[in-house]
């Protein structure tokens, strides 16, 4: 792997790094989409990920967002190891099915052929299963820590990643098309709202106050993203540029520490691109966000990035400040094409 050896040295890790990726490798069958990627994002930085098409940028994004598990390597978010290949995953189903089966077995042994007694025990086993299985599937925090103590490790799911402070947008916009802009943002606020279904059913004052406040806040996010007055528009009816903004607003509503933006200016005209670039800058200064950006538009990248990482064919070929990247001969060769001699 001479290429890896030649890559620019990794940024030294500091305790204030939002994200640390350690030698992430992802294979799809025979295709190596990512090879030993080392990656660090310092707090409140704007870091860009660039590279030609098929370089593995979106794959890397999806690994961070918990959508695809890496083949090897791990990712720490704010000091928590959240993503790594599963360990002892086969133990988990045993954990779910052993208790009910045990109860059933005891029931069969104890009741001595009395079918009605067996059925009662069976019901008990079923009850137990209905308590265990949904918990195991929903994976609440205490369950996670319990199985971790047993040495089982499974990567965090997308919603867990959101919980630990990562918001994201998608390369090909994925909004809730038949919901209004405001509702889209409200879904983004899902984890920040506390009222339970019971609150909703009883329409408790707490619930009503929270809903009221949530709508005000959601409207503010829309405004921040430049969608003032679009609250009740259905997402699918918004023009393309506004859909991109709405996705950003929805991601902001998660109140993330780290915001992942996958080509936020794709398909936009220069004016819109300028607005989005300004917005990204404001997100850092006003909200104190850390941003990881995938972007093709070099003016955007060079203009706002603190550091840039260049991927090519799944490998990190360079890392540095925009100035360094601009001058790096490997980048110029692999990404921008050979300069005319």
């Amino acid at each position: 792997m001479t290429a890896t050896a030649q890559a620019a040295p990794a940024v030294p890790e500091t305790p204030d790094d939002v994200l640390i990726a350690r030698s992430i490798t992802k294979q799809f069958g025979g295709l190596v989409a990512l090879r030993n990627i080392e990656f660090v994002i310092p707090r409140r930085a704007i870091v860009s990920l660039i590279g030609p098409n098929g370089a593995g940028k979106t794959t890397f994004f999806n690994v961070i967002a918990g959508l695809i598990p890496p083949t090897s390597g791990s990712i720490e978010l704010s000091g928590m190891r959240l993503i790594a290949p599963a360990r002892r995953a086969w133990l988990e189903p045993l954990l779910w099915f052993a208790p009910p089966l045990l109860v059933l077995l005891i029931g069969i042994l104890v009741s001595g052929g009395n079918i009605q007694l067996v059925a009662l025990w069976g019901l008990l086993a079923l009850l137990l299963a209905t308590l265990i299985l949904p918990t195991a599937m929903a994976r609440p925090a205490w369950y996670e820590s319990f199985i971790r103590r047993l040495g089982i490790f499974r990567s965090a799911r997308p919603n867990d990643i959101v919980r630990s402070g990562v918001g994201r947008t998608f390369q090909n916009i994925r909004l809730f098309h038949n919901m209004t802009a405001l509702e889209n943002v409200l879904v983004g606020m899902h984890l920040k709202l506390r009222s339970t279904p019971v609150d909703a059913v009883l329409s408790t004052p707490r619930h009503r106050a929270e809903e009221e406040e949530a709508r005000v806040r959601a409207a503010r996010y829309l405004e921040l993203a430049g969608l003032r007055g679009r609250d009740d528009e259905l997402a699918r009816n918004l023009p393309y540029g506004d859909q991109r903004r709405l996705e950003i607003a929805r991601a902001l509503a998660c109140e993330p520490v780290l915001l992942l933006l996958d080509e936020p200016t794709a398909g936009m005209n220069p004016r819109e691109t300028g607005e989005i670039t300004a917005l990204i800058g404001r997100l850092r200064t006003e909200l104190g966000l850390t941003v990881l950006l995938i972007e093709h538009d070099m003016r955007v990248v060079m203009g706002i990035s603190d550091r840039i990482t260049v991927l090519d064919q799944g490998e990190r070929i360079a890392e540095g400040t925009p100035e360094e990247i601009r001058r790096n001969p490997r980048v110029i060769e692999a990404y921008l094409g050979k300069p005319p001699s």
């Binding site: 959508l67 695809i68 189903p93 997308p158």
Partner: protein, 344 residues
Amino acid sequence: MTFRILRLALIAAGALVISWLLMIGLTWLGTRSESFSNVVATGTAQYFSALTIGAIYALIALGYTMVYGIIELINFAHGDVFMVGAFVAYLIFTSLGFGGAIKSIPLLIGILLLGFLVTMVVLGVLGAAIERFAYRPLRNAPRLAPLITAIGVSFILQNVVQVLISNSPVPSPQLVSLEYRFTLLGASVPLLNLLIFLVAVVLMIALQVFVGGTRLGRAMRSTAQDREAAQLMGVNINATIAITFFIGSALAGAAGLIYGLYKGNIVFNLGFDAGLKAFTAAVLGGIGNTVGAALGGFAIGFIEVAAVTTGLSRWQEALVFSVLILVLVFRPAGILGQQIGERA
């Protein structure tokens, strides 16, 4: 290619032998008091009925798996297409004046060939028509829409047969006399069972050759892989999907004809149960995988007959569906399939 065929043949032969031994073992479990030779004889007889029933499920399962492979739709109406196949064959045979066993072998073969040909063509056209009118307009609609349409089509097919032909079971002509039998290990097995198994295997091999070797087959596979890319490469998507439906439905039609010959009794709602079991077979084998569907079909046939031999015949359906749920929970990709479980 030759290596692949050889390997498949070896797997198939191995599966045949192992399942035969297993069936004898299960028969012994079900009837422990009997002598060894009796157990072997009963087990062998049961084994052959499992092969027959399995062949029918396998043929239906192929349609599910092909359609799912190409447009990711569970064609709920497919079980009823199979049922219509049984009734079309019934209409053909009775209208030609054959109500029972045919004594003359050449005539029998001729009529059967004619029956298969006409049934398969009629059903193929029916399947392609269903696709054209009920599914194609919804190809870009939300996922739920074509599923619900499929249920609607299933209702329509059942009800049309119910109203046009009969509300109650109809005796379907058993053209192949059950008197033709052969004896193996003390079991007297109707030749019909073997015939059905062979016909199914021939049809499946023909399908494999078609999908693997022809231009149309290549178009089908490329469409299944990536519809847009295939379209850019000049594949006619609509035609390819229509042909997939044609073939899948034709196979279901053949299965329907076979079912009529074998059971001697058909009813308008038989497609529901059979369809569900065949779908289980397709899932078991890994949906989208034709070889898997065939294996899954035989596996379901085996489970069903095994349930009877072990005295659990009342729990047949429950057993099959438990298998379905277990497979989906633990190995949603099926035995031979690729990963298809949704992650979220």
